[in-house]
Symmetry: C2
Subunit: 203 residues, 2 copies
DNA sequence: AAACTATGGTACCGATCAGTAACGTCACCA
DNA sequence: TGGTGACGTTACTGATCGGTACCATAGTTT
């Protein structure tokens, strides 16, 4: 009944989110949940509490908005890595394990729909799409990050192990979209522990 | 210049492909290459050398055509499994290895775009879409098939190993779409061999 | 007060989407 | 020979797509 907009509290200036951020947040939600091609710019603007014109004042095209959305997701991923590093300083193995646990939880979460970047790669095969460079970049950075951690953890063949873990996670995230995720997370941690153990003692 | 349609050869009856098959073949090509949502029914009909009306005489809707396309892909997958069984009769381990080699080759092939079923699951999140039951069914069947082979091969924890291999392959197929496939196939066979070896001697 | 900027609102553009109506044609079969 | 059903062709529907023109308004700056 009473409109919340009637209480600007006079302080002003700080609690109003600029439209660009609202649009990006709405786009993130809708693109991730329903797929990029399934969401029109109109519905994004509406979900952001604005309109198409304002959207196009901040983004050149839908493709550019998609690219920006993926840059945002890549940023979240990077932030997660640094958060892990801060939570387990000087303990690369603990960082790896925490990452794996986080990914397993992600896989088990029914509201999640896998990796936004990987999904976008599936949905946008055109190799000149502005999104593709973002995707490839982020994936490569993650691989280097994980391989670095494996190396610093003293595990043998760190790049090989990083690939094994990444493929396992990526496979689990996409499989959860096809078959559901019942028990997949538990199997996932067992598998990754086995992989880590295999890279521990021997060459 | 000369139209090939002018030589019915009088024998008739055998070399003309009925429109339903042509449509399904064209849909398979276009859906897989460009994505399901990116392809319109008009272009499918055109690629099949027919028109939209004939398409809708054979398929109730685009969604039903998509489901039929995925049934077709699931059938190809099943046929591949039986072919492997015929090529290596009574040798389940050889069947597993041949399957892995085939998947690795698939991953390395730049013209391929991963698993059609998994891609469809990414592209069609609506859980009441007629395609989803096809996808889940096929994935489950494959899992049971591979687990059965692992068991008959005398490998320990056959279901666990089957999951490991499936996740690895699925992850590779989707990663190849994000990062390319350079050297991924070789790493893939090494990893799967290591996994198989780990399930050989001990419990 | 005047001017400028950012935003919102509405209406529109051409193109394409999934799906349908109506008609013509051809082959095959009784 | 006449009929029947599958196929091809054209044109159409209403909806939605990405993207834009135009104008009104609010807030800030000078």
């Amino acid at each position: 009944m009473s409109t919340a907009a009637e209480t600007p509290l006079k302080a002003g200036k700080s609690e109003k989110i600029p439209p660009r951020q609202r649009i990006l947040a709405a786009a993130g939600e809708l693109f991730y949940r329903h797929g990029i091609r399934a969401v029109g710019v109109e519905s994004i603007a509406e979900a952001a509490g604005t309109n198409k014109m304002t959207l196009y004042r901040h983004f050149d095209s839908k493709d550019q908005l998609v690219a920006e959305y993926l840059r945002q997701e890549a940023g979240k991923s990077d932030a997660y890595w640094t958060e892990l590093a801060r939570a387990h300083p000087g303990d690369p193995l603990a960082q790896i394990r925490a990452w794996l646990a986080g990914m397993a939880a992600h896989v088990a979460d029914c509201n999640e729909r896998g990796c936004a970047l990987a999904n976008a790669a599936v949905e946008l095969p055109e190799k000149d799409h502005p999104a593709r460079v973002v995707i490839e970049d982020c994936k490569r950075r993650q691989r280097a990050e994980l391989a670095g951690l494996c190396g610093r953890a003293g595990l043998s063949e760190p790049e090989m192990l990083a690939d094994e873990l990444l493929l396992l996670i990526e496979g689990a995230r996409v499989t959860a979209q096809s078959m559901g995720a019942d028990g997949l997370d538990a199997r996932l941690v067992r598998m990754s522990e086995a992989l880590i153990a295999a890279h521990r003692g021997n060459s």
